[in-house]
């Protein structure tokens, strides 16, 4: 007899990925394959200044000498980099000046994702940069933001309009040769988001980038650069989905954040790339380099991530705490189900005095998935009175999945105070039965328990995102106890 939990498990694992549709949007793309010629073409298509092409070529030459990182607790199938399209863009007027010029099918795509690009529909007051297949298609609320001197636009546009800022900061946090995937991104990235908050400005609304992969056989390589000048504040959100496709697709993004004196940047991600089907076929390979530099004294960078999608996740949003009294935070919920694999965590590098970092990681594994936390806390010689608190919890659902924790410490200053806590627990049949007895069915019970477990992290998300994330967790996991 099939018990209740198995039934729910079956229903859920067989339910469809909600965002798996494809859109019929005309795209312009380069042929498959990667070489210097392709890079020159990308740069040319984007009408880039010379320094950009140099940056790309340097990165490419670096990349050729590099190897896929092997240290992660992941089984990464061989990727044929010549079998990927490196540039695909929705065909539309170079820069649509109004929504009327945007392909209606494209607008419809974002509407179906719940992201209306018409500004009057944006009651929640979130400015959105929508990126489809590596190209920014529309940024909302640009004028409102411009009044405060805030620049929020696509990366490509920033290269044209604000080349000095791009030149000054791009690659300063994640150098072109930082790692295999960052180097690849630096060589071929086609677009992304750019954000600049001037001195003394508190950004009046959440800024958000919404990434969508649509075209087949296409890699998505976007790049985000956020610069927060002295005494400024911004909260930034990132969401992502992709169609269901049988083949795997590569996503290798780079995010760089620079926080100057007294500046604060909050970066929140709800990552919901297509995870592949229940047998592990298809899905996105998500190899992302995200790093923030607390450059000024008293600056603060907070990463919050809810990772539910992707077939493979390789991602370590990190903070370099250079300024004295600067603060780095990492709050993460990573969920894996079926055959998903995630190796995610953070790196906190303490350089300045009295720097503080907090790491809260909540892993949840179900099905036959593997979920690893990997974190490094590094305290440099001159980082007097550095403090770190890390808490890494794992929650297992069922007994075919795995949870692993790899905390690393490199402490070169004796005054450092480092605390680390870790727990592993299983959702108990007893907890579920207790809920059942109070009239709460197994699905809702798992939702309650998982959201309770992840609460510390979910609480860090902006309101609208928190609700979405809670639902997402429940959908991803319902009934995975067995």
């Amino acid at each position: 007899m099939m018990n209740d939990q198995d039934k729910v498990l079956k229903e859920v694992t067989q339910s469809d990925y909600k965002f798996g549709f494809t859109s019929n949007i005309e795209t312009e793309s380069l042929p498959k394959g990667l070489n210097e010629e392709v890079i020159r073409l990308i740069s040319e298509k984007k009408n880039e200044p010379e320094f950009m092409l140099e940056f790309r070529l340097k990165a490419y030459r670096n990349w050729l000498k590099m190897k896929t990182p092997q240290w992660a607790h992941l089984k990464i199938p061989e990727i044929d980099y010549q079998d990927i399209i490196y540039y695909a863009a929705p065909k539309q007027k170079a820069k649509p000046s109004s929504l009327d010029e945007v392909d209606p099918e494209l607008l419809d795509t974002f509407n179906r994702l719940g992201i209306p690009l018409e500004e009057q529909k944006h009651l929640s007051g979130v400015a959105v940069d929508a990126v489809l297949d590596s190209t920014s298609v529309k940024t909302t609320f640009k004028e409102t933001l411009a009044e405060k001197g805030i620049i929020f636009c696509s990366f490509a546009e920033a290269v044209q309009e604000h080349p000095d800022l791009v030149k000054k900061y791009m690659g300063t946090v994640v150098p072109a040769g930082d790692n295999y995937f960052a180097a690849l991104n630096s060589a071929v990235f086609s677009d992304g988001s750019f954000c600049y908050i001037p001195k003394g400005v508190r950004c009046p609304m959440e800024l958000s980038t919404y990434f969508r992969i649509n075209a087949a056989n296409t890699g998505q390589f976007e790049r985000t650069l956020i610069i927060a000048e002295d005494d400024s504040y911004v909260s930034y959100l990132e969401g992502c989905t992709a169609p269901m496709r049988d083949e795997n697709q590569l996503h290798a993004a780079v995010v760089e954040i620079v926080a100057l004196e007294n500046a604060e940047v909050k970066y929140s991600t709800v990552q919901n790339w297509y995870p592949g089907d229940k047998n592990g076929k298809g899905g996105i390979y998500n190899f992302v380099t995200k790093r923030g530099m607390c450059k000024g004294n008293n600056s603060k960078i907070s990463w919050t991530q809810v990772e539910t999608g992707s077939a493979i996740t390789w991602k370590y949003p990190s903070c370099i705490l250079r300024g004295d009294n600067s603060v780095g935070e990492f709050y993460s919920v990573a969920v894996t189900n079926n055959h998903q694999q995630a190796d995610t965590g953070t790196k906190m590098t303490h350089i300045g005095k009295n720097t503080k970092s907090t790491i809260i990681s909540k892993g949840i594994s179900a099905g036959q998935s593997n979920n690893s936390y990997r974190g490094l806390v590094k305290v440099m010689k001159n980082a007097e009175n550095a403090r770190n608190f890390s808490q890494c919890d794992s929650l297992l659902m069922g007994d075919k999945c795995g949870a692993h924790t790899f905390p690393y410490l490199e402490i070169d200053n004796k005054s450092a105070i480092i605390e680390h806590e870790a727990t592993t627990s299983k959702i108990g049949e007893d907890q579920i039965f207790y809920c059942n007895q109070r009239g709460i069915d197994t699905e809702a019970a798992i939702g309650l328990i998982v959201n309770g477990y992840a609460k510390e992290v979910l609480n860090k998300l902006p309101m609208e995102f928190a609700v979405e994330a809670q639902k997402l967790l429940q959908i991803t996991l319902e009934g995975s106890v067995g």
């Binding site: 018990n3 209740d4 108990g428 049949e429 007893d430 907890q431 039965f433 207790y434 809920c435 059942n436 007895q437 109070r438 009239g439 709460i440 069915d441 809702a444 309650l448 328990i449 959201n451 309770g452 477990y453 992840a454 609460k455 510390e456």
Partner: protein, 250 residues
């Protein structure tokens, strides 16, 4: 309301209940007593629908329906409440959120509208005062870090919130100091009505100083070996459970 007939139950192929017969009618309060290991909690688990408890023969009728056919949550929606002997902790899930989900789920199943946030909070406050559960406990996660006594009070609080037709309270009295015991008993007495019924499972007669049962049953080695009125409890208190051995064998 509840009719248990010739009920045989195994756990892991081991026979635990061996032919239970019990009838509970609206307005009645039954006490089930018996030494440790006699099967009291097992009986409570069967009624609540725990998966690992197997009914090998016999029947349970609840308001004319076959209780054994229902999922645990369906039983709850139809008014069956179990006060657990060992209430579990659910970290991170606030009592407010938990009870709101439970109350609204029940209302939904009964075709009623969800309670508004303010009505719900009013109900929470009212019922937590009713069982003397400190307000800050209802703000905490379900049973997390609660003392033994607080956990038991919390069960009575949930009973008051859900207003069940049939309550089974499994050793809700054990491990309580006298004040907590009185509070629990007081709660049970005040919740008693003509149209609901309560089965208190207890090891000690102490609780029955404060709750007057209509019937007392002795469960011994998986069988109800004696049923009588309140006086039976006193007799057990006086003689202990040992004398039953001889009596049963006769």
């Amino acid at each position: 309301m509840l009719k248990i007939k010739e009920l045989y139950v195994t756990i892991n192929d081991q026979e635990i209940l061996k032919g239970i017969n019990l009838e509970v009618n609206p307005g009645e309060l039954h006490a089930i007593m018996g030494p440790n290991g006699s099967g009291k909690s097992t009986l409570a688990s069967v009624l609540a629908g725990r998966e690992e408890v197997n009914v090998t023969s016999g029947s349970i009728e609840y308001n004319g329906e076959d209780l054994l056919e229902m999922d645990p949550e369906e039983r709850a929606h139809k008014g069956v409440f179990l006060g657990f002997q060992y209430p579990v902790e659910i970290p991170g899930v606030s009592m407010v959120n938990f009870m709101k989900t439970a109350v609204n789920e029940q209302r939904k199943q009964r075709g009623m509208e969800e309670l508004s946030a303010s009505d719900f909070l009013k109900l929470m406050r009212e019922k937590s005062e009713f069982v003397g559960l400190k307000n800050n406990l209802t703000n905490r996660a379900v049973n997390e870090g609660f003392s033994g006594g607080e956990k038991k009070r919390n069960e009575i609080f949930q009973m008051a919130m859900l207003d069940p037709a049939l309550s089974i309270l499994d050793e809700t009295d054990s491990g309580l100091d006298i004040d907590a015991l009185k509070a629990v008993a007081n709660g049970v007495n005040k919740l008693k009505r003509k149209d609901n019924a309560t089965v208190v499972i207890t090891h000690y007669q102490r609780l029955l100083d404060y709750i007057i049962p209509d019937f007392v049953h002795v469960l011994y080695k998986g069988k109800i070996v004696k049923s009588s009125d309140k006086s039976l409890a006193l007799e057990l208190e006086e003689k202990g459970y040992d004398w039953l051995e001889k009596e049963v064998e006769v």
